[in-house]
Every structure is written in C-alpha cells, then in structure tokens.
C-alpha cells in the first residue's frame, strides 16, 4: 500500500513492517462499519414499500436489528484481531500532526482493552434487544441510534486528538439522550431531560478545558500537548485541568456530579441501561479521565489527590444510597456509582505513587486492579441490567418486594443473575473478587490503609445489598401473580449466558488476561506523559 502525500507519513510507513500496515488499515473500520450501517438502516427503513397484509412491519424495517447485530459482531472480531498486533500511529488523510495540524488515531493497549469491552457489551445488548424490543414500535430507529452510539464510543477510545475526543463524546451522548427517552413515557422523558441538561453542562466544561489547553500550547494533538505543556504557565494549566476533570467526572457519574444517573439508567430500556452503565460511563468518563490525566497532564500530586477524593466519596455515597433501594434497576444504578468510585480510586492511588516517585510495581498493581475492575464491571453490571430487563418483561415489575421465587420459575435468568450478583459482591472464584482484592492490596501497598479499609467496608455493604436482591427476587415465596411467570425468550438467555461466561472466565483465566489485555494497557498509563509520543513528534 502506498502511503499518502505527506513525507513524514511515508517515512513512518517505511519504519513499520508490512503486518503493521495491515493492522493500521482496519482500525478505522471499527468506527466506519457501525456508522455506515446506522445510516443504511435509516435508508432501508424509509424506502416506500407496498402495504403488507395484516399491518406487519415491512421487510426493510425488520432487517434493521439483525443487520445491527452482524455489524457489532464484526466489530468485536476486528477488535479481538487487533489485540495481537502492534499498531503504529495512524494519521487520517496522510496529514502528519508534526508539521501541519493533522488528526491522529491511537490504538495502543488501553484503546484495545476499551474497544474489546465496548464491542462485547454491545453484542450482548443487541442480542438481548431482539426479544425485548417487541413492545416498542420503530425498532429500526433504536437499531440506528444504538449503532451510532457504538460507533461514537469506539471513536472516543481511538481518538488521539483532544477535539476529536470531544466531538465523539458529544455524538455518543446525544445518541444516548435519545435512547433513554425512547419509550416516550412520562418518566423516561423526565429522566432524559435531566440527563440532557446535566450532560450538556459537563460537555461545555470539557470544551472549556480543551480551549484553554489550545490557547496555551497551540496544538490539539494529545502527544504534542503533553510535550509542550510543562513550558506553559501553571495556573492556566490548573484551570484547564479543573474544567476537564469536572466535565469528565460528570460523564463518569462521580459524586457530586452523579445526580443524573439514578434517574436515567433505570428509565431507559434494559439493553440501553446495560450499554449506559456498562460502557458509556466508562468509555466517555473513566477512560477519557485516565487518558487526559495520565497521558496529557502527567500524574502529579494535585490531580492524584482529586482523583482519589472523587473515587473514595463516590464509592461510599453510592453504596450507602444503594442499600435502601427497593427498585431493582435504581439499586443497580447506585451501585454503578460506587463501583466506578473503586476504579477512579485505584487510578488516583497509582497516580499518587507515580507522583511521589514510588515503586513502579506498586503503581502497576493499582492500575491493573483498576483496569481489571473496569472490565469486570462492564461484564457483570450489564449482565445484571439485562437480567433485570428479562425479569421486568416476564413479571411486569421492577420492585423487589413484588417478586419472589424466580429461581424456580425462570432458571436460566436467575442463574445468570446469581452469577452477576456474586461477581459484584466479590465472591470467589468470580471476577469481581479478584479485581477488588487487587485494588485493596494495591491501596495498602501504596500507603493508604484507611482507604483500603474503606474499600473493604464498601465491598461488605455491596454484598449485603445483593444478598437482599437474591433473597427478595430469586428466593422466597412468590408474591401474587408472580407464581405464573415463565422463562424469558431464548435470545435473551443467550445474551445473559454470554456475559455470565465472561464473568466466570474473567476470574479463572486471570493470568492470560493480564498478560494480553491488562498489562499493555497499564504500561501506557504508567509511562505518563511520554506514552503517546512515539512516531508523532517531528
């Protein structure tokens, strides 16, 4: 393949071997495939057709959801294929950012981990949606918006440019606002409006931070900003960091920016709740926070303290608010806040260790724990949300006090729900136990025994609240009309089983996962400000 016109890109192509060039060519497909399919679905569904007898849905509209499932499966295959290869820096259109202001895509270890996570959860959600969305009309609109959201999230984790990151963050957010309001009932609209207002304020702050960084360095590329930033003044950099961290913490639902999450996540349809809680707050919140704080600003003491405070407060407040909930999905939403607090706390502890010049191994352990917990939370939280959707469809209720005895009536769903509940509560040998253990050990080694004790306390309270879930939903006497429910449709069971297998395998296969998935990602964050510079700086 001949490279583009820019001589710098041509030199880069000479450096990388042929296999690397092949890998670089398929990376943009992660974004292009879902985006193209989203628009193709709209065209297919809007074509004028003959009226089919019986008022059934035309063929073009019925083909939307299977097409979306195929595209997401292809995306997952591409991201797994990318795991093995070494992908160099990619310059869109051949414009290298060294001499001209070109846009770069990065696909290093952290991006590959996030891409696998996003596409895995998206595949499970879209398989689940086949049976769940029968109650809605215009399912083709749902598929199109879902693919837009997936494409935008993939582009967020592949973005090497601050403004590109912001633009795709916004695209994913707008698609999610529309998806939360999809049912157009009163409560869904109210939750979506609240989510929209808060999300827009957060995005405005992110753009403010990007604007200040641009005025300080004159560059938007993350690697160039990282190399130019120490020469700039310090108070302006603090303002930019404050604005960026505030906006991204709102996207990641950290306390005190969490007010939108307990309304938005329960009101959305179940596959969308799984996507929002499972990947959106991670890809647009925690991933962007880690990328910006570690790779652009560099892990210094102030940022580490802020991250640790945010994480610790979210952890505690989330679980205390969750224990008293009787609505299943609202309980899961509050637990999302708490578990994201775990991840951000681990990232902050690693940043603190790096800032004071401590041992790299300790920081690496904290990062491994945080990233492993991020992956695990994507798996078990989406599993729990999908099983709550399955329970809601069969029993018609979300209140725990109105359920009971489901383990006998719905065996597959309740088995998968039990796997998810045990994983989040941190019971061995499921994956949640190992990631929480590594975080607690990492916190102790990093010199924060109080925070480690707090993490243990929060884990115990999580266990408590999921014992409550199991007791009221799965065990116990059936209430009222629950005694006559049947098992959910098979496609829902397949999606649940897929995620349950990931939960179990994450715990058992921790060694190989660490070597292939988490260690490269941790390396990128450990290298701090110098991680992105290879092949970009002139």
């Amino acid at each position: 393949m001949t490279p583009g016109r820019d001589p710098a890109a041509r030199r880069a192509a000479d450096r990388w071997p042929e296999k690397g060039m092949q890998m670089e060519a398929i990376v943009p497909l992660l974004v292009v495939l879902p985006l193209g399919a989203a628009f193709a679905i709209v065209v297919l569904a809007s074509l004028p057709t003959r009226r089919e007898p019986g008022g059934s849905v035309p063929l073009g509209q019925r083909a939307a959801l299977p097409l979306a499932a195929i595209i997401v499966a292809a995306n997952l295959a591409i991201s797994v294929r990318l795991l093995g290869g070494d992908v160099g820096p990619m310059f869109i259109g051949g414009w290298s950012p060294g001499k001209t202001l070109g846009i770069q895509m990065i696909c290093d270890g952290l991006s590959k981990l996030m891409a696998v996570t996003i596409n895995l959860v998206a595949l499970a959600s879209i398989i689940f949606a086949k049976a769940y969305m029968r109650r809605f009309t215009k399912v083709w609109l749902f598929s199109s918006l879902f693919l837009l959201m997936t494409a935008a999230m993939n582009a967020v984790v592949l973005a090497g440019d601050l403004f590109n990151l912001f633009v795709f963050l916004e695209v994913a957010a707008i698609a999610s606002y529309a998806l939360v309001a999809f049912g157009c009932e009163a409560e869904e609209l109210e939750a979506a409006f609240k989510y929209l207002v808060l999300g827009t304020v957060g995005s405005a702050f992110i753009l403010l931070g990007v604007a200040i960084l641009y005025s300080l360095t004159g560059q938007l590329n993350m690697a160039m900003v990282a190399s130019l930033l120490p020469k700039a003044g310090s108070s302006a950099v603090l303002l930019a960091a404050a604005a960026l961290i505030a906006g991204l913490a709102l996207k990641a639902a950290m306390v005190p920016f969490h007010a939108w999450l307990p309304d938005a996540h329960p009101s959305a349809p179940a596959p969308i709740s799984a996507m929002l809680s499972g990947v959106l707050i991670k890809a647009s919140g925690v991933y962007a926070l880690a990328r910006v704080v570690f790779n652009v600003f560099g892990p210094t003491g102030a940022y580490a303290t802020v991250l640790m405070v945010l994480g610790a407060v979210s952890m505690v407040v989330g679980v205390f608010l969750a224990v008293g909930q009787w609505d299943f999905k609202r309980l899961l939403a509050y637990h999302s806040i708490s578990q994201m607090g775990y991840v951000v706390l681990a990232l902050g502890a690693a940043a603190a260790v790096l800032a004071r010049g401590g041992e790299r191994a300790v920081a690496g352990l904290c990062l491994f724990g945080g990233l492993f917990h991020l992956f695990n939370h994507a798996a078990f939280k989406s599993l729990l949300f999908l099983s709550s959707g399955s329970i809601e469809q069969q029993t018609g209720t979300r209140q725990l006090k109105e359920m009971g005895g489901l383990s006998r009536r719905m065996p597959v769903t309740s088995f998968c729900c039990r796997v998810g509940a045990l994983s989040i509560a941190g019971v061995p040998p499921f994956n949640g136990f190992f990631s929480k253990l590594i975080i607690i050990i990492g916190l102790t080694l990093a010199g924060y025994p109080l925070l480690a004790a707090l993490a243990v306390l929060v884990a115990l309270m999580t266990l408590l609240s999921f014992i409550k879930v199991q007791r009221y939903a799965l065990e116990g006497p059936p209430q009222g009309s629950i005694a006559a429910v049947t098992e959910a449709p098979a496609s829902m069971g397949i999606a649940l089983a897929l995620l349950a297998i990931v939960c179990i395998a994450g715990g058992l296969a921790m060694g190989p996962l660490r070597e292939h998935l988490f260690a490269p990602a941790g390396e990128i964050l450990l290298n701090g400000r110098f991680a992105l510079g290879t092949g970009v700086l002139p």
Binding site: A25, P28, V32, L35, F39, V42, I92
Partner: protein, 149 residues
C-alpha cells in the same frame, strides 16, 4: 400554524425568491474550498428555502413532496456519501486520503476531495434541518390531536 398557508402576496414572493435562495445555498456549498461557508452553511440556507415554502403554502400542500421518509432518505444518503469518500481513500493509501488531484489555487475543481465532502454535507444538513422542522411542526400543543413523527 394555519394549515392553509399565507396570503397571496406571501405566496407570490416565496415563489419568486425560493429559487434564488436554493441556488445561493448550493453555490456556497460548491465553492466551500474557495470562500467562507462550505457544506454546513449551504445546507442551512437550503433548509431555510424549504422552511419558507412550507410556511408560505401550508403543511397540507407540501406534504406530497416534502415528507418525513424523503428527508430520512436524503439525510442518510448524504451521510453515506461522506463515508464513501472516506473509504475510497483506501484505494490510494489510507483512510480518508484524498484521491483527487490538488489542482491549482482558486479553481473550482481543486482541493482534492473537499468539494465532494462539501456536497455530501450540503445534502445531509439540508435534509436533516428540513426534516427536523417538519417533525417539530407536526406537534399540536393546544388540543390532544397530534401527528408525531
């Protein structure tokens, strides 16, 4: 909004003016690589022409030509054309690489694939904004009678 449209003077003026507005919008998008503007600005002007027609002649008259599905199709076709321009770049070396020659300054046919992208965005934004206007104008706030999109 009066479904029957506005008075005769408004209708005559709209008939005269809307053609010029449309041509102006297309001109701004076509010469986007030479003058300020480009695809988005041209699309907004095109949609403004459509809105003018709908306001002057009434929704019932225009619902034969300017329908919801037509806007959907035009919108998505524009977006897919933009993606096509990006994918065709693979033929000459990479994602989004320009496959047309750069040409001379100040000529209409120059600037690589930028005019193609501008045209795609023109179609998309024009159809998108016109469709959005149609969807919002289909609500009836006062009574319960509504045709939502």
């Amino acid at each position: 909004m009066n479904q029957g449209g506005m008075t005769l003077i408004v209708k005559q003026t709209a008939r005269l003016v809307s053609g010029f507005i449309t041509v102006f919008g297309i001109h701004i998008a076509l010469t986007g690589h030479l003058t300020p503007g480009g695809g988005f600005a041209g699309g907004v002007i095109l949609a403004a022409a459509a809105v003018l027609i709908v306001l002057s002649f009434g929704g019932a008259y225009c619902s034969r030509l300017l329908t919801g599905p037509a806007c959907h199709i035009a919108d998505s076709a524009g977006a897919m054309m933009f993606l096509l321009v990006a994918i065709l770049g693979y033929l000459v070396g990479g994602f989004f690489v320009s496959f047309l020659p750069q040409g001379n300054l100040f000529h209409l046919v120059s600037g690589g694939t930028m005019p193609l992208s501008n045209l795609a965005i023109l179609v998309k934004v024009g159809a998108g904004l016109a469709g959005g206007f149609l969807a919002l104008s289909a609500f009836r706030l006062a009574s319960g009678a509504k045709e939502g999109d």
